[in-house]
Amino acid sequence: MIELPDDDLGARAVAELRGVHKRYGKVEALRGFDLQIGPGELVALLGPNGAGKTTAVSVLLGQRRPDAGSSRLFGRDPTLPATRRLVGATPQAAGFPDNLTVREVVDFVRVHYPDPAAAPELLGRFGLAELAGRRAGGLSGGQTRRLAVALAFTGRPRLVVLDEPTTGLDVEARRGLWEILRAFVAGGGAVLLTTHYLEEAQALASRVVVLADGQVVAHGSVEDVTTRAGLSGGHARVPAPPGLEEAILRLTGGSS
């Protein structure tokens, strides 16, 4: 492979997937998937169930190896543990050891990072301060989700990967997380977010990638994607969902 000059994407990309193919038995989850995320960018990965979003996230995080193509974090191999020091992640399903307290879970995760956030600050930021002494097994769905997202920020990451982070959160908690993500991105952090809430993508994303059957069917700004689907570009400025939602239904064959 040719070394890219410093000012090119090769050096700037926080995360980069190139031509990734991934197959499980007869199912082709990803068919030549490309993705680049730079600092200060929030990329929303959208698509119907089974489109390959979670597979893309696992390849990016080094949890699965691509059958073909390459996956890089900060220019390095994500399957090496050291590469993941600058990354925080929230998997789609959240769960913790039942018998540990929230504070113990946070302290346990902090040990893995060279310069972690202070536990009280982290718990406060995610509205968990009062739950610090509670057993993780006794948390409600929303509290579990908040702890899972807090853990993604524990290591003061430069990239945060959130797989459907706001599922199960009430409106207030969701808006709270949005504020945290906006501040993180404004400070130069990069975010990859998969979501089913189009409102969320419209509110947060600097770029949208639409995935269907393991391939990118559209990418660009929210305006680009709505335009490409043949909708009037003006819709994208409207905060209500219809613009992007309609676009995705058209682009993915109406099975969203």
């Binding site: 696992s58 995080l61 949890q63 543990p81 992640a89 998997p91 399903a93 769960g95 346990f108 893995h112």
Partner: protein, 243 residues
Amino acid sequence: MMVALAHFKEQTLQHLRAPGYLLPTLAMPGLFYFLFEGPDTEVGLVTFLMVSYAMWAILGVAFFQFGVGIAEERATPWERFLRTLPLSAGQRLAGRVLSAGVFAAAAAAIVIVEAHLINPVSVAADRWLPWILALGAGGVVVAVGGIAMGYWASPRAATPVATLAWLLLAYLGGLWATPTELPSWAAEVSPYLPTRLWGEVTWAALQGQATSPRDWLGLLAYAVGFAALALWGYRRDEGASYR
């Protein structure tokens, strides 16, 4: 190192707070030693059985902490989350092994201390180290068996499988009474079981008798077999979840 210690602490706290784990490992061996054997006056017998029940205690840690522990955690969201941390499989394993080692030592110590308190046990000064070493060597073999169980048993089946194996192997291995008291059908199976082989080398070490190479070779064969099963199961699980 810090990371492995954090995993040691996580594993240890979780198990210390789980009554379902503490009952078969720390409570039952001591309780059964009391119910079946003590207080008694037969020095040879109570000493022999102290050693047997210490083995049974370690067998419990091997099957419940490794077997049930690995099987139940394997496919959990928590395990998937751990894969996103800057963490190697070796650090996780080190924490788990260290924690199980501490529990195994505690479980055996409870039986040994109890036996000294209620019975006139007597171990020659120069026999302590040999029998403890034999106890530990067999403990490693059954721990590898526990790891194999963890990768092959489904999360729902793990507890019943571990419980049944733990009870049957103890009884048939001659750990609850002396092997000579086994009914004839059981006595025929017994010499081929890992717990009996473990018993033979440990009892011989205790009494200062020569151990038969057959027993050590048998244990070694089990160790190799369990390790192969564990590795196969681990690869199969990795392939299904993370390839």
